[in-house]
Amino acid sequence: MRRTLLALPFALLPLALAQADEHQHGSLAKHQHGIASLNVALDGNTLEIQLESPAMNIVGFEHAASSEADQALVAAAKAKLEQPLQLFNLPAAADCSLTQSALHSPLFASAAHTEDAQDADGHGHSDVDADYSFHCNQPDALQVLDLSALFIQFPATHRIAVQLIGRSGQQGAELSPKMARLSF
């Protein structure tokens, strides 16, 4: 009896392997409603901003937009995200222009791909990722990162964990509507 028991793990091994294959090995990203993360890097004339947020903070829901009202909300959120100069309150004196931007979210997928979108995250959570790259002619005018406009535009965002690389090196901070500024 004992011998057979000893053999059991080996008998089950193929099963375990088969299951492991199906499994995603990459770890799951965290997803916490109300909290977004923002990476900002300034090097020479290049300014890069990456915003990663649960769709809940940006759109108000995380399922694929099927009704017309939902679609309107998605479109409104997308429009706000497509105006990064206003969203991040970049000073006009810095003379920044958007060189590249990319918006990713299962919610932004077109209607034809809604099924894909729903599969995006097994637990029904979805994120919004927005990456921007700017060219600033007067980078010295960038003194302060001011996120108050972002907090106003997306009121469901309560805290933003910021990682910033600026002139004085790396900084980390957690910004909130009350404390929405961080100096470069």
């Binding site: 990459g26 890097a41 690389i165 790396q170 900084q171 957690e174």
Partner: protein
């Protein structure tokens, strides 16, 4: 001026209580300033330890944990990372330089770090200061060479060419020593005021050679033993390291590489920005710092209240003194001023004595604190913030002096002149 002289003379008459009061204030001031000093210096020394490193990569744990063990030699790694993961990261096109770090052994309480020559070339501290070798050279091809931090060389009196034996593990008293493979001191680094001073640097090959014949976490016995000579001829390629410091070609690439490493599928890795992790550490520590600060503020307050009590209780005994002053022409407000001046003089003497105590304490403890905690406490003049604190203490003392002053003012109008013995 006369008033001040009278106040001082009156104090001199009660010198024992006055001295005790001054001493109580001095101790509390010294404590407040010491807490403030240690706090700011700890921050400064932490912030000065690493510079120019864009990312630190280690096994997945917490960012503060990774920062503490990889840079500050505080605590231990949860896991090691594979050598091929290091190679994968180091060969990334955005990576300018990569410094592998391997920890785990020690020598008489000081940590031993295995690394590559890139460490001496690329590691920066304070404001982009490179590491300088004061004597000798960096370790070369021979695996059994060690470069000492300044503190290690000074505290243990090591010279170039000396041989030393490393211990397995990080306990101060270790039962397992690598005494079959002694290391030769080939270089001593200049003092940096960072944990580098308290580190012994060996090559990764040396680290590997120490453990090459180990089996099941114990040294080999009998035939399995690999001698130092045999180890020299072996191909000493480490299989695992503890952490990696990365410098990038462009700061802009930091975040994308961070994400790439955090999503690396071969092994759970964690990449952190040292500056961000440091700030996370501050926010963790700030609660404790504030608590310490509040406690020392209350100690100062206790000292001042002690002074107030001493003056108030003396008022009754001094009715005769006040009466005499009144009879020779002092007005009630003179008496009030006298008491305020007395309180001020006590507090000022307390503050000055507190400063003396602080500097004596720093001068006395400097070496010990640096050796044991890696914290350099300079004998610097008080900062502007410290002056503000001292000024606030004096102001509080003046304010407190008003209480006995008011009572004396009221009493001295008539009291004491009519004898009520």
């Amino acid at each position: 001026m006369h008033l001040l002289r009278i106040a001082l003379a009156s104090l001199a008459n009660r010198r024992f209580t006055a001295l005790l009061t001054v001493f109580a204030i001095a101790l509390s001031v010294c404590l407040l300033l010491a807490v403030e000093r240690v706090r700011t210096e700890a921050r400064a020394s932490f912030a000065n330890t690493i510079s120019g490193t864009d990312l630190i990569v280690g096994a997945r744990s917490g960012s503060v944990n990774l920062l503490l063990y990889s840079v500050f030699r505080i605590g231990n790694a949860t896991n090691n990372i594979r050598w091929d993961s290091f190679e994968h990261v180091a060969e990334h096109r955005q990576v300018k330089w990569a410094i592998p770090i391997s920890l785990g052994d020690s020598h008489r309480g000081y940590r031993v770090m295995g690394t590559s020559p890139a460490y001496f070339e690329h590691y920066r501290y304070a404001r982009s200061q490179p590491l300088n070798i004061e004597q000798g050279r960096a370790f070369a091809d021979d695996p059994f060479e060690v470069v000492l931090g300044a503190e290690v060389a000074q505290a243990l009196h090591y010279q170039l060419g000396e041989k030393l034996v490393l211990a397995h593990g990080v306990a101060t008293i270790s039962l397992v020593k690598h005494d079959d493979k002694p290391f030769t001191v080939v270089g001593i680094l200049e003092r940096t005021g960072t944990p580098v001073d308290r580190t012994l640097h060996i090559s990764l090959a040396g680290m590997e050679a120490l453990h090459v014949d180990w089996q099941n976490g114990m040294p080999a016995r009998g035939a399995g033993v690999v001698s130092a000579e045999q180890a020299r001829t072996m191909h000493l390629q480490p299989k695992a390291i503890t952490a990696v410091l990365l410098g990038l070609n462009s700061k802009i690439a930091t975040f994308s590489l961070q994400r790439e490493i955090n999503d690396f599928r071969g092994e759970p890795l964690l990449a952190i920005l040292p500056g961000v992790a440091l700030q996370e550490l501050w926010s963790l520590m700030s609660t404790a710092e504030q608590a310490l600060f509040v406690v020392s503020l209350f100690v100062v307050l206790t000292g001042l209240i002690g002074m107030l009590t001493a003056i108030l209780t003396s008022l009754n005994e001094r009715r005769r003194e006040m009466a005499i002053l009144r009879s020779v022409g002092a007005r009630p407000w003179h008496i009030a001023c006298l008491l305020i001046l007395e309180a001020f003089a006590l507090a000022l003497a307390g503050v000055l004595l507190g400063l003396v105590l602080l500097y004596l304490g720093i001068a006395g403890a400097q070496g010990h604190v640096q050796a044991n905690y890696g914290l350099y406490l300079p004998l610097a003049m008080p900062t502007r913030y410290e002056w503000t604190l001292l000024g606030a203490i004096l102001a509080a003392a003046l304010l407190m002096g008003c209480v006995p002053a008011w009572r004396a003012y009221r009493q001295s109008l008539a009291d004491g002149l009519s004898i009520r013995l």
